[in-house]
């Protein structure tokens, strides 16, 4: 007795789905996560990775199987069967991908919303941040409103200037200007970014965040770091010959260490400088 093909197919399908799920959950292709929205991103990544693995292995399996099973044996000059189509089948494989991409689209919208990407820009908490902007066209990668909502703390404002080939960080409250970005762990940070010459992009892989910095349009990007450490800031938009060298570091510190750093670096080490840190 042979096992019916339908049962074998079913088993193969189940094995495939399980493999996909296992791969998505257990193979890690991402760097360390160090911001509030990184785990959210990783969740989406796992889902996409699982779906992708299932599709890829499934289709590769079908091709290899067909090539082996239906290969032309020597001397056979005949044809295969004359099947020109099968409408119900075609409708099925139109409908399934449509449902899958719709699910993926809605799910990723939800993820983006949880990362703060869909939050409105103009809110009362904003005026503090870009008093100098005065520009009606301010753009946001991730809005500070969302970050404040998720941590309940007012964001730490930092002005970022991108230029060929460096990032400059300015802390308006403490009056510090630095080449490295120091931030306290757990407190939202609101970057107001502008570019002086050409387009640059601010990217911290461990935060899963990237935002182009475009001349002529001040841009906001917010994040909340969750793990102390030093992470690279990478310019991700071709900006000239030294583009590859345009890197900096974000130093995520315990609140106390950060307060000390602010105190040490404030220009007129006045006692009220550390008020920038509201922790």
């Amino acid at each position: 007795m042979r096992i019916p093909a339908a049962i074998l197919t079913l088993l193969a399908g189940m094995a495939l789905v399980l493999t996909g799920l296992w791969v998505g959950q257990n193979i890690n292709l991402l760097p360390e996560d160090a911001s509030l929205n990184a785990p959210v991103y990783d969740e989406l990544f796992k889902v996409l990775f699982s779906i992708g693995t299932i599709l890829l292995i499934g289709i590769a399996g079908l091709i290899v199987y067909s090539l082996v099973r239906f290969r032309r044996v020597n001397g056979d000059q005949g044809d295969g069967v004359a099947i020109e189509g099968n409408l119900p089948l075609e409708i099925l494989w139109t409908a399934i991908p449509a449902v899958v991409v719709l699910f993926v689209g809605i799910y990723s919208y939800d993820i983006y919303d949880r990362m703060g990407g869909m939050a409105p820009l103009n809110d009362h908490s904003m005026h503090a941040m870009h008093s100098d902007a005065g520009d009606s066209r301010t753009w946001a990668g991730i809005s500070p409103v969302a970050m404040e909502a998720s941590t309940g703390e007012p964001p730490l404002p930092v002005d970022v200037t991108a230029m060929q080939f460096a990032f400059i960080f300015h802390y308006p409250d403490a009056g510090i200007t630095a080449g490295e970005l120091h931030v306290p762990v757990g407190q939202p940070v609101a970057l107001t970014m502008k570019a002086n010459d050409v387009i640059h992009a601010f990217w911290v892989p461990q935060f899963r965040l990237k935002q182009d910095v475009i001349p002529g349009q001040p841009t906001l990007l917010s994040f909340t770091a969750t793990k102390p450490g030093r992470y690279p800031i990478v310019c991700a938009e071709l900006c000239g010959p030294y583009h590859g060298g345009m890197r900096s570091t974000v130093v995520v510190e315990e609140p106390q260490t950060f307060a000390d750093w602010v105190a040490q670096n404030s220009p007129a080490a006045s006692p009220d400088a550390p008020t920038a840190v509201q922790s």
Binding site: I59, F70, Q77, G80, V81, A82, P97, I111, G216, L238
Partner: protein, 560 residues
């Protein structure tokens, strides 16, 4: 139809050069022009490949030590521009389109043969102009995307020459597109209905619509960019009140459709190759046609997925995510139909088939990463990184270039009358497939872990994996050798192919190899069922027949 159906008179003196010289002439024969496109494109492919070699050599080490930094950016810009505008677009459209479309519609030439020759002869000067910019001044340094303000601040001469060259190539592409549309719609042999055309005609119709709708937008944009450079106008210059993001919208309004201009014809070619070597009809002809048109429509409304980090408003991100994701639906239909075409066939595992199946695998991979990239939150992390480099090479190389090779193995016997050597062809496939995956698969990991694209220096943690990638690139370079040897030697020594070595049913096989000027002696065949392979299910004489003899010079009883 006022086609001359009588064979050309033998006594009339030839109007055009004969022999090999006609390949260097202003020939108006669509087959000559097709080959001109192919060979010219392949020469530029070798140039682009050498540039890629320079890039991969620089990336062997994390520091910038092989090329000066400016030169690296020039090489990178030239590589992208050459590969897209001088190799892929002219070859999948111009070369195969010109060679095959007149056969497929039963015509003796393209609708506008002179325009056709003009379109081809724009390409070599444009290409030489582009490459000469490297020697004249310095080539453009702002990438194939030429985003302002960077493209306004890098050396102007190189950027202007780049713009001129791309304008010429765009013009060539538009001329070609008009010609294909006219030929397919107006030169069809009487009695051939639209829904009886081979699938490549539909692919070229769709592609040409995209070319005609979107290329003029690129041209206009580049003209404005050149004003900004030469005349210091401020269209895209923020310091003069312009807007740099508007350029990105206009650029991608062309350049996303451009990716379909590069891949839809490849879809069409694969649809021709698979049924012949699997001895089965193309599965789901009608849904294939609708999915091509669906891709054309959706392809026009997804461009902003290249700009998710450029400060686009939230609603726009949402719209373009959904629209982009939905392209996977018509694309998926085509892939399932191809799998169903293979299923139950009698598949010849020759080089053409291997490259076609390699294409399916690679493209599925690239399509999956594409759908992932369409999701805004996913894209925000990997945009402008090596992940994207991996994605689009899986599509343009693993997809289109694989199909170009499959097509060469498939149509070489028609063009030359001789077969290519199979073992060399399989070696070529093996080296290309392994080299390609070794080169580009690891790039996805690099991108996810922090390596941006278009850099000459990088974080040392990526050194080993970049070296692996470079080894893959070396294998790809080596893989070209068996191919070149094969193509050149077989032209003289190859086994004679006969007129129809694959027992195919499409009209280009129903004439001599190589075909005569004007394609057929006597009347053009009318092929109602270009994919009429196969025996009826249930029929017992599986091994007896080989292809239903369905073509005839106008059999009126055949239903569509």
């Amino acid at each position: 139809m006022t086609l001359t159906l009588s064979p050309p008179s033998a006594t009339a003196p030839p109007l055009q050069p004969q022999g090999w010289l006609r390949y260097l002439s202003f020939s108006t024969d669509h087959k000559v022009i097709g080959l001109q496109y192919l060979v010219c494109g392949f020469i530029f492919y070798l140039v682009g490949g050498a540039l890629a070699g320079a890039i991969r050599t620089e990336l062997l080490t994390p520091i910038s030590d092989f090329l000066p930094r400016e030169t690296y950016n020039e090489v990178l810009t030239l590589h992208g521009t050459v590969m897209i505008f001088l190799w892929i677009v002219p070859v999948v459209n111009g070369a195969f389109g010109n060679y095959l479309i007149p056969f497929y519609v039963g015509a003796r030439d393209m609708a506008f043969p002179r325009l056709n020759a003009v379109a081809f002869w724009l390409i070599p000067p444009a290409g030489l102009l582009l490459i000469s910019s490297y020697f004249i001044a310095s080539a453009a340094q702002s990438g194939w995307t030429a985003y302002p303000p960077l493209s306004l601040t890098t050396p102007a001469t190189g950027q202007i020459i780049w713009i001129l060259s791309v304008l010429l190539l765009g013009g060539s592409s538009i001329f070609g597109g008009i010609n294909f549309i006219a030929t397919i719609l107006k030169l069809r042999r009487p009695g051939l209905k639209l829904m009886q055309m081979p699938m490549y005609c539909w692919a070229m119709l769709g592609t040409s619509i995209l070319v005609v709708l979107s290329t003029p937008v690129l041209a206009g944009t580049l003209v404005l960019l050149s004003f900004d450079i030469i005349a210091h106008t401020g269209f895209f210059n923020p310091s003069l009140g312009g807007n740099a993001v508007v350029y990105q919208h206009l650029f991608w309004f062309y350049s996303h459709p451009a990716v379909y201009i590069m891949v839809l014809p490849a879809f069409g070619l694969v649809s021709e190759i698979l049924p012949v070597h699997a001895r089965k009809p193309l599965f789901g002809y009608t849904t294939m046609v609708y999915s091509i048109m669906g891709i054309v429509f959706l392809g026009l409304i997804v461009w902003a997925h290249h700009m998710f980090t450029s400060g686009t408003p939230p609603w726009m991100r949402l719209f373009f995510t959904i629209a982009t994701s939905f392209i996977a639906v018509p694309t998926g239909i085509k892939f399932f139909n191809w799998l169903a075409t293979l299923w139950g066939g009698k598949i010849a595992l020759n080089s053409a088939m291997l490259f076609s199946c390699g294409f399916i695998l690679n493209f599925v991979f690239g399509g999956i990463t594409g759908v992932a990239l369409a999701q805004v939150p996913f894209d925000i992390h990997v945009h402008d990184t090596y992940f994207v480099v991996g994605h689009f090479h899986y599509i343009v190389y693993g997809g289109t270039v694989f199909v170009i090779f499959a097509s060469i193995y498939h149509w070489y016997p028609k063009v030359t009358g001789r077969m290519l050597n199979e073992p060399l062809g399989r070696l070529h496939f093996l080296l290309t497939f392994v080299g390609f995956n070794l080169c580009f698969a690891p790039q996805h990991w690099m991108g996810l872990n922090g390596m941006p694209r278009r850099v000459a220096e990088y974080d040392p943690q990526f050194e080993l994996i970049n070296q692996v990638s470079s080894v893959g690139a070396l294998l790809m370079a080596v893989s070209t050798l068996p191919f070149l040897v094969n193509v050149i030697l077989s032209a003289f020594r190859g086994e004679p192919a006969g007129d129809n070595p694959w027992n195919a049913l499409t009209p280009e096989w129903l004439t001599s190899s190589p075909p005569p000027v004007e394609n057929w002696h006597g009347e053009a065949p009318l092929v109602h069922e270009p994919y009429g392979y196969g025996v009826e299910p249930g029929s017992l004489s599986l091994a007896a027949t080989s292809g239903r003899d369905l073509w005839s010079a106008g059999d009126p009883e055949r239903k569509p």
